[in-house]
Amino acid sequence: MSGLTREDIVRQLRERIVAFATSRGVRESAEDFAQDVLMVLHEKYPHVTELTELVPLSFQILRYKMLDQHRKMMRRGEYNQESIDDHPLVDSSDDPSIQVEQKERVTQLIAALQQLGERCQKLFRLKLEGHTFPEILNIFGERSINTIYTWDSRCRKQLLALMGGHWEAQPIGGNVQRRKRETEG
């Protein structure tokens, strides 16, 4: 059990989130991202105090916040400077673009997985089936858990490379906008 209190964890989370957002090109709103995440944690999840729950929860919130930010920028035409009238209004139901995007990413992920070796595919399949690393160790009949860790690390890097270096589709307009701002600045 970790000796960190919730306040300690939240304080450190704030620093990490600001740094992460800054590194991802949203320097101006990095503080806002961190503030928003902490606000959600404080208001909606005050009962979550465990490190193993709090940190992934903050990652999840952070991701949603960043996706919202991207969508807002898309709507505002900040990426491609298109007229807002050309875009449909936001539907309260499931976002079809997100669904399509996710479908594309699944297809891309399957294609990448097909290119992996037999062992990597088996490893990924076992993980998707819910097997932990110790269980995978027994299935493979290996003696050391470090062998499984090493195999998984190599397979993950290989898969990430096949996916283009990102798990998430990169907003093309975002890159264009960022380069434009850097040029003007």
């Binding site: 193993t52 992934p56 690390s153 990102h166």
Partner: protein, 496 residues
């Protein structure tokens, strides 16, 4: 980011980390910005895999892929077993051992003949050493004047009386000046003793059976005894050439002595009046050799009669001459009745060992470098000896020969004496690696000089005309038909 944490990142997206792994990973992420960033990036994959529909889709694709891979590679276990490092190590070790065995076997195959040759050389060296020791022991004997008494003592000890000509050992009494040749004299004495013993044995057989003594063997003894006398005489007068077969080399003489068993058989069978077996090439090669020797001896004895009389105190020259002539006459009659000499050659291969010693080589088992191999040919008749190698396109290359003992140069115009050994260097028909470029040579022996050599080189020799006999170190080839006056042609295959 610590490498250890990076290794378990893959379990975060699939949510398969244990509680302990999660706790350690997230705690580390709070202190490590790189790990935190990576985990934040992994969130996208985690969200994707969190969707049950997407997860199922991916799983199905992986199952399908796994099944197809298993069907494609269903030699699985064996292949997997073979790919294990331990298995590979064993396989490598076995392969290395196999290679070592093959290499060793090949080395044994290649080097065994050489090792055997070296052993033979060592053996010959040790034998020579023993022989030298004997000579040293002989030299340690009292003064040469006492040799006479030594011989007499040996005679009395063995209780073998010398034949009449065997009284000649008294001659060494006048050899005191020839101190350096005492060892040779010792050999001669030993040899005389052997011949004498053999003669006595042969004499005993007919005496027991009441038949006459074979003149054949007596001739041999007489020839040898006279050779001894002549050798002694030559020591007194070094300018005088040896009287018996002055051109013949040691091999020729030793071969003549090797005839003893064959002649023993012939003499015994004549004594028993049994039919003789057909003579072999070796017998035909040396047949009638006594007559030639005697003829040479007589001429030498005539010319040196006066000198011989001076040095011989106990031997009556006229007596010896009379006896020799009688024996020779008997030999001629008996020899012609037994075996008639046929024109032929004796050839062998010589090479110089690593210890710079000359040794006989088996022509069929010569391996390695042929550059130092020599073909030694010895005709049994005086004449002209030629050796040619066919270099292709109908062209022939003559190989020059050298006399074996003197090595002073080529025999003049190929003219050689009977039983004179001539050596022909085979290095002239090898490449720079010592490998033969020509697999056979042709030997021509003619009583007169051959003017048109090509006439006799082209075509092939009829083996039915020749009789061939192999011994351990030599090959005898004779042409039994004495009526043919054409040159004797012998094709010698150089085995490699």
């Amino acid at each position: 980011m610590s490498k250890s944490w990076e290794q378990i990142l893959g379990g975060y997206a699939t949510d398969t980390l244990t509680e302990e792994e999660k706790r350690q990973l997230f705690e580390a992420a709070l202190h490590d910005q790189a790990l935190f960033d990576t985990l934040a990036d992994e969130e996208a994959l985690k969200a994707l895999l969190a969707d049950p529909q997407a997860r199922q889709q991916i799983l199905e694709s992986l199952h399908a892929s796994g099944i197809s891979q298993e069907t494609v590679a269903s030699r699985p276990r064996r292949v997997r077993w073979f790919r294990r490092p331990s298995t590979l190590a064993w396989a490598g070790s076995l392969a290395a051992m196999g290679l070592a065995l093959i290499f060793g076997w090949q080395m044994e195959k290649d080097w065994a003949p050489l090792i055997q040759q070296e052993q033979e050389v060592e053996r010959s060296v040790s034998e020579k050493k023993v022989k030298d020791d004997k000579q040293e022991a002989f030299r340690a004997l009292p003064a040469p004047l006492e040799n006479r008494e030594q011989v007499a003592a040996l005679q009395s000890r063995d209780e073998i009386p010398f034949p009449s000509v065997a009284k000649l050992p008294s001659v060494p009494a006048v050899v005191p000046e020839a101190d350096d040749d005492r060892a040779d004299m010792a050999e001669s004495v030993d040899h005389l003793r052997q011949v004498q013993g053999a003669l006595e044995e042969y004499r005993r057989v007919p005496e027991e059976e009441g038949g006459p003594l074979s003149p054949f063997m007596e001739d041999q003894v007489v020839q040898d005894s006279k050779a001894f006398v002549d050798a002694s005489q030559s020591q007194v007068e070094p300018q005088v050439q040896p009287s018996i077969m002055p051109e013949a080399d040691e091999v020729g003489q030793s071969e003549a002595f090797k005839l003893a068993p064959a002649r023993e058989l012939a003499a015994a069978q004549v004594a028993k009046e049994e039919p003789l077996p057909p003579p072999g090439a070796l017998d035909l090669f040396y047949a009638g050799i006594g007559a030639d020797k005697q003829k040479t001896l007589e001429s030498k004895l005539d010319s040196k009669n006066q000198t011989f009389a001076k040095v011989s105190n106990e031997v009556s020259m006229s007596e010896a001459k009379e006896e020799n002539s009688l024996i020779t006459q008997g030999n001629r009659v008996g020899g012609e009745a037994l075996i008639q000499r046929a024109k032929g050659i004796r050839y062998s291969f010589l090479r110089t060992s690593a210890k710079k010693e000359e040794e006989l080589a088996d022509g069929q088992n010569i391996t390695g470098d042929w550059r130092d191999v020599r073909l030694a040919i010895e005709p049994n008749e005086a004449g002209f000896l030629y050796v040619f190698a066919h270099v292709g396109m109908g062209k022939w290359q003559q190989i020059e020969g050298t006399t074996r003992l003197e090595r002073r140069g080529n025999p003049e115009d190929g003219n050689v004496q009977a039983f004179q050994s001539v050596e022909f260097r085979l290095g002239v028909i090898t490449n720079r690696f010592g490998q033969l470029v020509i697999s056979s040579v042709v030997v021509l022996l003619s009583p007169t000089a051959i003017e048109n050599v090509g006439k006799w080189l082209n075509g092939s020799v009829s083996l039915s005309e020749l009789q061939i006999e192999r011994t351990d170190d030599s090959v005898y080839v004779v042409r039994p038909n004495p009526t043919l006056d054409t040159p004797l042609r012998v094709d010698i295959t150089l085995e490699e």
